[in-house]
């Protein structure tokens, strides 16, 4: 789908807002679904954005930037896929051809941002030594520039060259590859779920995983119903568990740090 200049600029701006939100308040502009909806509004099809955002969010359910890890850039993918797909029929193929590669390849730009900020760290350290608080705070804010470049640049370029590229690819792509990509887009949530299972005490609490699966697979229970049943189990577990007498060892060095 061809994009107007104002659309490209607004979407690029959102990509910037999105990463700033992720690094600061976490109010939702960093959200994949919210980003999809915003893009949808800009291109005049909010529902398309909601669906793209929802699909991509399902890939990212288990993925957080814990300990400052660099993770696939799904918000950028949500912008690009929603803007370029144009209609619902193209969503699966656009996700597989553009969305997943963009999200996975732009990880390197996140690494760039986290490296580049070392410069501002040194600047802050220099001013901290002489007690110049204003300059320390400014150095901290300068870090914004690395984040903005790392997220706005790929989105801007992809939106600029994307429509022509997508057109060329879809015209020449054989049917088996189109269906292959559709299959990929349906299977892909498995990656996010598996990552999440690695973080959660899956082995210890496997009955509940099976419970949720069974409710959905055999009884087609909606996810809200499954949540309520899970909540019942959680409340019972909480009420029955005793408060541990000794808490964390505060001298221990944790491995998991956050962004």
């Amino acid at each position: 789908m061809e994009l107007q200049v104002w659309q490209i600029l607004l979407l690029t701006a959102w990509a910037g807002l999105s990463i700033v939100d992720q690094m600061t308040f976490n109010l939702g502009a960093n959200g994949i679904i919210q980003t999809g909806i915003f893009t949808g509004i800009i291109i005049g099809n909010p529902i398309l954005g909601l669906l793209v955002g929802g699909t991509l969010q399902s890939y990212a359910l288990g993925i957080g930037a814990y300990g400052g890890a660099s993770v696939p850039n799904w918000p950028a993918a949500a912008i690009i896929v929603t803007a370029l797909a144009g209609s619902l029929d193209n969503v699966a193929a656009t996700i597989a051809i553009v969305g997943i590669p963009v999200a996975a390849l732009t990880v390197q730009l996140d690494v760039f941002g986290r490296f580049a900020n070392v410069v501002f760290q040194h600047r802050a350290d220099k001013y901290a030594k002489i007690g110049n608080g204003k300059q320390v705070v400014l150095s901290n804010r300068l870090g914004l520039s690395s984040w903005l470049i790392s997220r706005m640049l790929p989105v801007f370029i992809a939106l600029l060259v994307g429509p022509a590229l997508i057109g060329a690819i879809t015209n020449y792509m054989p049917q088996w590859l189109v269906s292959g990509f559709t299959i990929v887009s349906k299977v892909f949530p498995a990656v996010g779920f598996a990552i999440l299972l690695r973080y959660l005490p899956t082995k210890k609490c496997i009955p509940y995983l099976i419970l949720g699966f069974a409710l959905a697979a055999w009884f087609q229970a909606p996810i809200i119903a499954i949540s309520v049943i899970g909540l019942v189990a959680a409340i019972i577990i909480y009420k029955q568990s005793d408060v541990p007498a000794v808490a964390v060892d505060i001298s221990a060095d944790g491995e998991d740090y956050d962004e």
């Binding site: 400052g68 996975a104 320390v136």
Partner: protein, 268 residues
């Protein structure tokens, strides 16, 4: 000099932390810049008559810091309570508390807020979004606002008012809470595996006989067998050495293309 922080000041400081925390996040000292920037107004006020102590405090608080953004509020609250009570003598104590708590708090906080919060609110948001409804994402956004404007200031206040004795009670309570929340998270995730992962097997020709893998094998065993298998394989692969999320992304992408080319899986 021993002015007590008001609720309003603590709230302001919590907002300041939310804003500053990761602006200059870097591989060298991670959130150090954000921590110091948040502390600066307090330090400047507290040590305005003692330049030596002020410089020392700047130095100490510019050391490495990294923890979970929400629970970090507790650490900041404790830090200022200690320095307020002990003055410049307390700077080293505060630094010790900060260094020893950031690791455990990151572990608990990432699980509780990142993994579990993300699973529960995220799953509901995904499940409703793909059906064209905004309700789930509205709930999740509401939660984000609650965390920013209520929970983080509250955690800062708790850290400030209760100090070190909070560590024992809070972390015990958080562990208990995390445990129960994991149960909810896993139940929801089980449902998500069955609803969101779509796998349909194709037909396979063996000795001249065509076998419909989906109808005559998978469906006979249980519904959503394919979904369960794919997630189990991904889970297994992630446990292997040298594997990470990015590599798995490419493996699944290419693997599914091959399987689809061979006709073993088809478009659901």
């Amino acid at each position: 000099m021993n002015k007590k922080m008001t609720k309003k000041e603590l709230r302001k400081m919590s907002y300041s932390w939310s804003w500053n925390r990761s602006l200059a996040w870097n591989y060298q000292k991670m959130m150090s810049c954000g921590y110091l920037s948040t502390m600066i107004p307090f330090l400047d006020e507290k040590y305005k008559d003692d330049e030596e102590a002020r410089l020392y405090a700047y130095d100490v608080h510019s050391q490495f810091f990294n923890s979970e953004p929400n629970l970090s509020n507790v650490i900041l609250g404790m830090d200022i309570a200690i320095e307020e009570e002990l003055g410049s003598e307390g700077i080293d104590t505060a630094a010790g508390v900060k260094t020893s708590l950031m690791g455990p708090f990151a572990g608990i906080g990432d699980t509780l807020f990142g993994v579990i919060g993300g699973t529960i609110f995220g799953s509901i948001a995904v499940a409703t979004a793909v059906e064209g409804s905004y309700i789930g994402i509205a709930l999740w956004t509401l939660w984000s606002f609650f965390v920013m404007f209520f929970l983080r200031p509250k955690l800062m206040e708790m850290g400030y008012k209760q100090g070190l004795k909070l560590v024992t009670t809070l972390s015990g309570e958080l562990k208990r809470f995390t445990n129960a929340a994991s149960v909810l998270g896993l139940t929801v995730l089980g449902g998500m595996v069955a609803t969101m992962v779509g796998v349909k097997f194709g037909t396979f020709t063996l000795f001249g006989t065509e076998v419909d893998l989906q109808v005559s094998i998978a469906d006979k065993i249980m519904p959503k067998l394919g979904s369960a298998i794919v997630v189990a394989v991904c889970y297994y692969l992630l446990g292997r050495k040298g594997m990470n999320a990015n590599k798995l992304t490419w493996i699944v992408l290419l693997g599914m293309l091959v399987l689809s080319f061979l006709g073993i899986v088809i478009v659901p």
